[in-house]
């Protein structure tokens, strides 16, 4: 089995975990508060993007699905902005929503009007994803500040989710910066970076699933983290 085939097989880990997450969320759906339903919606969107990107990769004449990297960046941004602004950060920090919305509009405009949506792999740059990741990392830093400044009842949950989001998106910033290199270089050289990214992403999904499961299993308990 070649590295490429092995990697393709290994990449199925992420959609499998997402399917597990969506099933878990739907199973407990009636017991979930809006916060956990928001997490479930994110997992659902991520699964949809994953399936669409694989399908697009098969049928596209360019033989690449890189546009979905930018789209997933936008979905990540919307998820994190919603989660942090409405559930984790205090009302006094709602102003963060404005720069996040501005970045969102900027990236959408860039995708629609300035960037070539379906560019060839050798000229692809994922600066829009990079910017989205940076905004997400800023959110996580604000969340850490909130955790250090105030005693929060749900501090365990916040700590868990915030850490997983920070780890994944901080590493993803570096990977987005080197996206062109990582896409076009020999897979045997860059496979470790993609594996690391996949593991961190799967870890983040698993933590979200665990949180949803905890909430569904014991809704009263999760109300306090």
């Amino acid at each position: 089995m070649s590295t490429s085939e092995l990697m393709t097989l290994f990449s199925l880990l992420s959609p499998l975990v997402l399917v597990l997450g969506v099933i878990t969320g739907l199973w407990f759906y009636n017991r979930l508060s809006p916060k956990y339903r928001w997490m479930l919606a994110y997992l659902g969107c991520a699964l949809l993007i994953d399936i669409l990107s694989r399908y697009w990769g098969l049928i596209s004449s360019k033989q690449n699905n890189l546009v979905f990297l930018s789209v997933s960046g936008l979905i990540d941004l919307v998820f994190v902005a919603g989660l942090y602004n409405f559930y984790y950060l205090p009302k006094g920090q709602r102003w963060l929503l404005y720069p996040a919305a501005a970045i969102f509009m900027l990236v959408v405009c860039n995708l629609l009007f300035f960037g070539n949506l379906f560019s060839a792999a050798n000229t692809f740059q994922s600066y829009d994803k990079l910017i989205c990741n940076m905004v997400i990392v800023v959110y996580t830093l604000f969340c850490f500040m909130e955790l250090l400044r105030h005693r929060r009842k749900e501090h365990r949950e916040m700590m868990r989710i915030n850490s997983s989001i920070l780890v994944f998106f901080a590493v993803d910033i570096l990977i987005s910066m080197a996206a062109n290199f990582l896409i076009n270089e020999s897979l045997t050289l860059v496979v470790y970076f993609w594996v690391l990214r996949l593991l961190l992403l799967t870890g983040m999904y698993l933590i979200l699933i665990y949180t949803i499961w905890q909430s569904g299993k014991n809704p009263k308990h999760l109300q306090f983290g």
Binding site: F144, H155, M159, L166, A170, V171, A178, L189
Partner: protein
């Protein structure tokens, strides 16, 4: 191709970057986790201290109750019962008594009334706080130079229970002055407004060491202040008199 442009070099630098970021973030997460744990531990310790303090106060309240019972028992025994015994004796042997039974009876009624007033101030609902305190310190004017300075915008409506607790605090402070301070002058300042009560009681007595004071009287005052959700403090030093200050907001 320059050395730095080689894919292997780029991959190495990227690995270093990713490793550094992961290290930085891991340290940050560990630091935050330790900080939160410490915060929780301190909070727990504070809660435990508060619980211990509450337990102490509860113990003290029981002791205060017992002391009050003893005092009342002593008042009844030494004041009322002894007078009633003399009255009984006087009624059986009227020819040998120096004081006539009606006089003894009148004295006994007086003592009973004093004990009764001491247990519960008369007309508590109708009497305002300033009057209650004035009535209490009136008899002291023979032995002390008592000065009362009252300032109130209009007589505030104070719930009877609150009024009684404040009155008991004032009673305790003044009793302590009488018993221990060897004072000649007592000043009472009252500031009453719709949402704040401030009382200051000063004397020119021998004072006490604030650090060593933990008598039952003080505990009793603390207990009542806590019940009222107010605040109080004593300021004193040996030979420099004592000043007691209490505040009660939104009573």
């Amino acid at each position: 191709m320059a050395e730095w442009q080689k894919p292997e070099t780029l991959a190495i630098w990227l690995s270093i970057g990713v490793g550094f970021v992961l290290l930085l973030i891991t340290s940050m997460i560990i630091f935050t986790r330790f900080y939160i744990q410490r915060m929780l531990r301190e909070e727990q310790e504070r809660a435990q201290l508060k619980l211990d303090y509450q337990k102490d106060l509860l113990n003290d309240s029981v002791r205060v109750q017992e002391r009050e019972r003893n005092r009342i028992a002593a008042d009844l025994h030494d004041g009322l019962i002894s007078r009633l015994n003399v009255l009984l004796l006087a009624m059986h042997t009227p020819q040998h008594t120096e004081v006539a039974p009606p006089v003894l009876l009148k004295e006994s009624i007086g003592v009973a009334r004093r004990i009764s007033h001491d247990l519960s101030p008369p007309l508590l609902e109708e009497t305002d706080l300033a009057e209650l305190i004035s009535d209490f310190v009136m008899p002291l004017k023979a032995a002390f130079s008592v000065e009362i300075d009252l300032r109130q915008e209009k007589p505030p409506v104070i719930h009877s229970e609150t009024k009684l607790q404040i009155f008991r605090i004032v009673q305790e402070v003044i009793s302590n002055i009488i018993k221990h301070a060897q004072a000649k002058r007592i000043s009472i300042y009252l500031r009453l407004s719709e949402n704040r009560i401030s009382i200051r009681i000063q004397d020119d007595g021998i004072g006490f060491d604030e650090k060593k004071s933990s008598g039952l009287g003080h505990k009793n005052i603390e207990l009542r202040i806590q019940l009222l959700k107010g605040s109080c403090r004593f300021r004193s030093a040996p030979q420099k008199g004592t000043s007691f200050l209490m505040h009660l907001n939104n009573y």
